[in-house]
């Protein structure tokens, strides 16, 4: 029955009658009318009507029905209605007061809560107090059901860990970082339940929180928050974390740059998807930071096979780089193992048309031919044949001290053939055997280009693209120096070292027919051929002249 | 300088080296031949290196002798 907004006085008499009748015990509000206050009983005479509603100004409709049994069973069951509904004057009820919206109504009523639940009381649970103290905190009634509030102990006991957390965290609550950036604390349960962690409780990861403790945490920024929480993954995923600790991403963070990824940056936090989704073109997380490389990969035959054609055996990022133990982009010589893990029998396949196929595979990086648009260069590296490692920056410092090792190469200083010879000589020391040699690789200049690989149809098959004096690849020469975190620094080398006779002792192992020929030998050839031609020519001329002379003299 | 003429027969005899050639003829010369054959380049290389020194020595001797004869 809908109440009209008339102001006739007969209504007040009806209320009086109801009060008298209820006092006689003939009118009750529900089965357990006992325990409700007199006022409450009076209110329930109308408010037990399920159809009782009020229109809000914004068009919403607020149900005015209250379940008396539930209210009696709640923590506030012994209170008068007007303890909270302070603006209700029984003599003038219902009134014509307009209410903007249901939310506005809840906000208004919630001011009553603070009559009993004062700041000092609320501060006993600091995190709750922190939430409600925010300027746009939700109204008490938004979280705490209005008429069915239970005691905290009873409520905690009735809920499991996750649902306990969700009583607040399913609502639109938030905190903020020290830098003022807000952090939404709302948890979308459906997404959690669709993730691989669906069987976990909140407290399995958020271990410092729970029914018994919930500190008010403060983080300087979002990144600090992410880094701390990612450490929790280790509890269950120790093997992966151990791999991660050996990775370049870990080294970068340890070095102070916190933008490198931690577990949650790739896997997400609450919405952890199965690994398979991370290995799709659309879902691979690497592209978030390595977009250019990813775009290059997507155009490559691997990316096309994986993406458009759906061949999941085609490699994506983690297949070559490994997901957790990803190393710094390093010396090309080590990378071939990734290609060879799928493409076995390469020597036989290339040997059909390529002379010295095995040597080519050792010295030429795969993208040098299979990414034909890429710019190429020669990269030299001091390689210890004894232990199979590159000589590191530290090893060189031990021999030379800081001054002699070219730094960064940005100032234009290039290593000369003599410099290279010194490095080889000094690092080998006086020991017998010379395990340290300078090896050379023909590689592409940037990682972006290296990913744009084609199949054999697009690959370089013309020998003269490299076996030609002045070929592009031989005009840029660098030397790789390995730093302590595994990253490789490239130092510029004078390209003349490739054809210098002084490189015989240092670059003995790197030689390319036609392109890196020693210029001195060309001079020797010309001299030898000219000599070989001219000495006989002179001798023959002398003989002819002598014969003519003898002929004239009659001999 | 006198020219030196050789008959084929003399050449054949002289081909077997110097002393003991009569004694060696008839025995199996193949191993000896092979050893000399493979030693030849090293001896030849030595001769090549030394020849210019000998030539200059000879020229020098002539010059000194001529100088003494003239003076």
């Amino acid at each position: 029955m809908k109440m009209t907004m008339s102001g006739s006085g007969w209504w007040r008499w009806m209320v009086l009658v109801a009060v008298v009748l209820s006092a006689a015990g003939t009118v009750t509000a529900g089965d357990s009318g006992q325990g409700l206050t007199e006022e409450a009983q009076e209110c329930f005479e109308c408010h037990e009507d399920e159809s009782l509603e009020k229109d809000m100004t914004n068009g919403e409709t607020l149900s005015l029905n209250v379940d008396g049994d539930l209210f009696l069973g709640s923590a506030h069951g012994a209170l008068d209605c007007t303890s909270c509904h302070r603006n209700v004057v029984l003599d003038d009820h219902p009134d014509e007061r307009a209410v903007e919206s249901c939310e506005a109504h809840r906000a208004e009523i919630s001011t009553s809560c603070r009559m009993c639940h004062s700041d000092s009381r609320l501060q006993e649970v600091p995190v709750h107090f922190a939430l409600v103290s925010q300027p746009d905190a939700p109204a008490c009634a938004s979280c705490h059901a209005a008429h069915t509030i239970r005691s905290i102990d009873e409520w905690k006991t009735s809920l499991d860990d996750s649902n306990y957390c969700l009583t607040c965290h399913s609502r639109s609550i938030r905190a903020s970082f020290s830098d003022g950036v807000p952090l939404a604390l709302t948890m979308d349960v459906t997404q959690l339940r669709e993730s691989v962690h669906l069987d976990h409780d909140c407290t399995d990861c958020h271990q410092t929180f729970g029914k018994d403790a919930h500190a008010v945490r403060e983080f300087s920024d979002r990144r600090e928050h992410s880094l701390e929480l990612a450490a929790v993954c280790r509890e269950c995923h120790d093997d992966m974390y151990e791999q991660y600790e050996g990775s370049i991403h870990f080294s970068i963070i340890a070095g102070g740059n916190v933008d490198a990824p931690v577990c949650t940056d790739c896997h997400g936090s609450h919405f952890v998807n199965p690994v398979a989704t991370l290995e799709t073109i659309a879902g691979v997380p690497c592209r978030r930071c390595h977009q250019e490389i990813f775009d290059s990969y997507a155009e490559s035959m691997h990316g096309q096979a994986r993406g458009a054609a759906g061949h999941i055996e085609a490699p994506i990022c983690a297949d070559c780089h490994r997901a957790h133990g990803v190393q710094a982009a390093s010396w090309t010589g080590k990378f071939k193992a990734a290609c060879l893990s799928c493409h076995d029998n390469l020597e036989a396949v290339h040997g059909v048309w390529l002379p010295n196929a095995g040597l080519h595979l050792d010295v030429v990086a795969c993208p040098s031919c299979h990414a034909p648009e890429a710019e190429r260069r020669i990269d030299l590296a001091l390689f210890n044949r004894g232990d199979g490692r590159l000589v590191t920056d530290e090893d060189l410092q031990a021999h030379f001290g800081d001054n002699d090792i070219p730094r960064a190469g940005g100032d234009g200083a290039e290593l000369s053939a003599v410099d290279l010879w010194r490095y080889v000589r000094e690092t080998n020391g006086n020991g017998s055997g010379r395990p340290i040699v300078l090896t050379g690789q023909l590689e592409v200049k940037t990682g972006i280009e290296a990913h744009r690989m084609t199949g054999k149809e697009g690959a370089v098959a013309t020998c003269s693209s490299c076996h030609l004096k002045g070929a592009e690849a031989f005009r840029t020469v660098t030397m790789s120096l390995v730093e302590s975190d595994g990253r490789v620094r490239h130092v510029q080398v004078d390209d003349k070292v490739l054809g210098s006779v002084t490189s015989m002792g240092s670059l003995g192992g790197f030689y390319v027919l036609g392109s890196t020929r020693i210029g001195l030998l060309d001079i020797l050839l010309i001299m030898a051929v000219l000599g070989g031609m001219s000495v006989p020519a002179m001798h023959m001329t002398a003989r002819l002249l002598a014969r003519q002379k003898m002929g004239r003299e009659g001999r | 300088m006198r020219t030196h003429t050789m008959t084929t027969a003399e050449g054949m005899a002289a081909g077997a080296l110097g002393k003991g050639r009569a004694a060696r003829s008839g025995k199996n010369q193949v191993p000896r031949n092979m050893i000399l054959f493979f030693a030849a380049p090293f001896i030849g290389l030595t001769y090549i290196i030394v020849l210019p020194l000998v030539a200059f020595g000879a020229i020098g001797t002539f010059m000194i002798t001529a100088a003494f004869a003239a003076g």
Partner: protein
Amino acid sequence: MKKVYIHPLPVRIWHWINAFGFVFMIVTGLQIRYPEIFGITSFRQAVELHNTAGFVLIANYFLWLGFYLFSDRIKIYHPELNPRKHFEDSLRQVVYYSRGIFRGDPNPHHSDPYHKFNPMQKMAYQVIMLLVVPLQFATGLLLWDIKRFEGAVALLGGVRVVDTAHVLCFIFFASFLFVHFYLATLGSTPSEHFKAMFTGYEEMEEEAGS
């Protein structure tokens, strides 16, 4: 003039295979080393031709070696063990080529089947046939399949060293080609030695009283 049988058939066969073979190797070698200058064949074709001809020449070398090791004509390569005699004969030969030949003097060296070479030639061919040519073949073989022989290549100091040795030998042969060809024209007629290397018979001056 009398004809003396100086060049046995295996030697003649070996010689002409070698002659054309070495010219072929030099031409293909130039194409490999100077691809930006020469355009006779593609780089890969040149490598393949060079490899094939190289193996033919190595087999040819063993034909030469096999013949001489089991023939008494091996003596033409034997060294003169008397140094004094050797230097006297050598200097006599030098004087002939630098003076006597212009004056119409006869050649002081007379070839016979067991003394084919004059002292200068003998030194040269001893070194060429038993040092330089084997070195060229060995370095060429290593370069043919560097991966297969990577132990030996590394022992020698690396590909660069092996290739430099190969190129130095090539420079020598390229120069020698002209000298050898010219010296071959110094027979009784310019074509006499060429014909002899086909027929086997050299024309010699009749000895007085023989």
